[in-house]
């Protein structure tokens, strides 16, 4: 299936799907196209965020939208994250569908009151009378010494709050299709994008389409081990699977795509086949999303497990700046492959 295919670089796309005449688009361009089509098709959609109308256009993902749709619908904001989240929540309660954009996930803690106490709870507290169709996009940074306050992946925090949905598209196809779903969902959706995904190219249809929530994708089918990988780690997991091929190990790579709701069925079905589970996450391990997947295996797949679950995550320390420390901090394909080898030895 071209839409589930993970391609490591643009050349790989051109040598495969591109040759079949399929349109390739970068992750950033896929997001821009999704925004454009959403703004065109629904007058309730607005885009607000720091820098959405600046010459960079949030790394290209909102570039020039204000020129096309006007500053009534696409605009910059004061540096007032919690207040503006509240404004977006109120606007959502009163009929708009705001897409609120943060260039860095690290600024979300400033919005926590309005996200956790208001957006997440409003529908329940009002007995279902008022819903909050709000999408909060944010980018996870990495590298070039971005350090502790410009590189955090905080999605697990939000999966802990009832009333929020959390998505983390890994491919350009999903970036577009999940943004469409998020805007139409009618609930507050936290939308996490890894900055390093922005240049990846993949098949993206021109027309608007929705990728449903709660449906993971098998990025590589295999029979020996299940690797559940999130966001950027999907690529590392696919690379790891290629390394493991050389050892005669056939790994299955699963991308949940949406962390909440989670496609438990897909993970358990894979586990039934392989009996071994490695979770590759680009967030801290302790109480993180990887722990939820491990708990799923323990609670609902215990009888399927032939070996202890292994996790490849970020260490439980703040993100460092020095390139040498960054190297030590971020796990990659080789770490995933090693975890798989250990899982198979058990």
């Amino acid at each position: 299936m071209p839409w589930t295919k993970v391609l490591i670089d643009k050349a790989e796309f051109e040598n495969t799907l591109g040759k079949q005449g399929l349109r390739g688009l970068s992750y950033r361009a896929a997001l821009l196209e999704a925004h454009t089509q959403l703004l065109e098709s629904d007058p309730a959609v607005i885009v607000i965020g720091e820098g959405v109308d600046d010459p960079g256009g949030v790394f290209g993902s909102t570039l020039d939208l204000h020129k096309k749709f006007g500053r009534e619908r696409v605009y910059d904001m004061p540096i007032a994250e919690n207040g503006l989240t509240g404004v977006a929540v109120g606007a959502a309660a009163c009929g708009l569908k705001p897409v609120f954009v943060h260039m860095r996930t690290d600024f979300l803690p400033m919005c926590m009151d309005q996200l956790a106490n208001h957006a997440a709870k409003w529908h329940y507290m009002t007995g279902g009378k008022v819903n909050i169709p709000l999408v909060v996009r944010s980018l996870i940074g990495r590298g070039w010494g971005s350090a502790a306050q410009h590189s955090q992946a905080l999605y697990s925090l939000f999966t802990h709050i009832p009333g929020l949905k959390v998505v983390a598209p890994a491919t350009p196809y999903d970036a577009k299709g999940l943004l469409v779903s998020a805007v139409r969902d009618g609930n507050p959706v936290m939308f996490f994008e890894h900055r390093w995904l922005y240049d990846f190219t993949g098949y993206v249809p021109r027309e608007s389409y929705a990728v449903p929530f709660g449906q993971g994708a098998v990025r590589r089918a295999g029979k020996d081990v299940t690797i559940v990988a999130v966001s950027l780690m999907v690529y590392e997991a696919v690379k790891a699977a290629r390394l493991l091929e050389k050892d005669g190990i056939d790994a299955e790579v699963i991308d949940p795509r949406t962390l909440k709701p989670l496609d438990e069925k897909l993970i358990l079905e894979s586990l039934a086949k392989t009996g071994r589970l490695v979770v590759a996450d680009n967030a801290a391990s302790f109480n993180g999303f990887s722990a939820e997947v491990a708990a799923l295996a323990a609670e609902k797949g215990f009888g399927l497990l032939k070996a202890p679950v292994r996790r490849v995550c970020l260490p439980d320390v703040p993100v460092p700046a020095s390139p040498e420390l960054e190297k030590a901090y971020y796990p990659g394909a080789e770490d995933i492959a090693q975890a798989v080898r250990l899982a198979l030895k058990a």
Partner: protein, 323 residues
Amino acid sequence: MLRVDKKTKIALLRMMLRSRLFEEKIVSVYGKQDMKTPVHLYIGQEAVAAGVCAHLRREDYIFSTHRNHGHYLSKGADMSGMVAELYGRRTGCAKGKGGSMHFVDVSCGCMGTTSIVGGSIPLAVGGALAAKVRKEDRVSVAFFGDGAADEGVFQESLNFAALHKLPAVFVCENNYYATNSHQDARHAHGNIAKRGHAFGMHSERCDGNNAEAVYIASRKAVNRARRGLGPSLLEFSTYRWKGHVGPDCDYMKGCRPKEELESWQKKCPIEAYKKIILKEHILDQSGIDAICAEVSSEIEAAWSAALAAPYPAAEELYKDVYR
């Protein structure tokens, strides 16, 4: 001073009585402990809700706080849904999921209330933004207290509303206490209205126990919003007679001086207004009594209906988390 017509005068009195009698009923029954929700009573502040809401149309939005009963009743929210909500019943306006701090009545623009101090302020700005983007003729009002003026979102919201000239009205009810902390312990400068000037916004401070003063100040603010002249900040000086939460006074616990409470009780907004109504021959005593009787029977009917209503089924717990 602008004139207030006879019909409006009666409406103001009626709104205040509705709030007062509703909450006096809560006070009278709360000891039974079958209303299992924390109540934050508005007694003493009724003139603010009445004077502001008298200008609002059904489709105008209000966002309110934990101390919301008066705002909702004055905006025209369905009383029976509120009482059933207080009793946690299936027929409650939020199906028993909100309680006293989270009333809702979308049919009259009551879009919800928050018990996080300051939370109502940006939400109301969002309502004003939605009205502007959708080109709807609506005004959005944020009710909040002096405690909320301490919060960052207060400043953030005022700035954004002024920047985009949104049809918002910020109504600060300064009752001088945030829970038990007096304004003097919290604010470097006591005049909250002046902060609106920092954002170039029409701002006014006036007596919140004088229904007509509130009405006149609000008329200007609401009209400005409707005419696209942007938001206003109104600070109304008033006083809450009861403790922060619950049906009792709190001076005996040392939360504030008894004399202070008594001096404000002498300035009761309803008693003061009744005197004006009588003096100006708007109504005679029997006319006032008739309003009280009518409101009381509405209250009794709402109470009977609520107490007869079923509780939500346990399965209801899992509904409405998501749309």
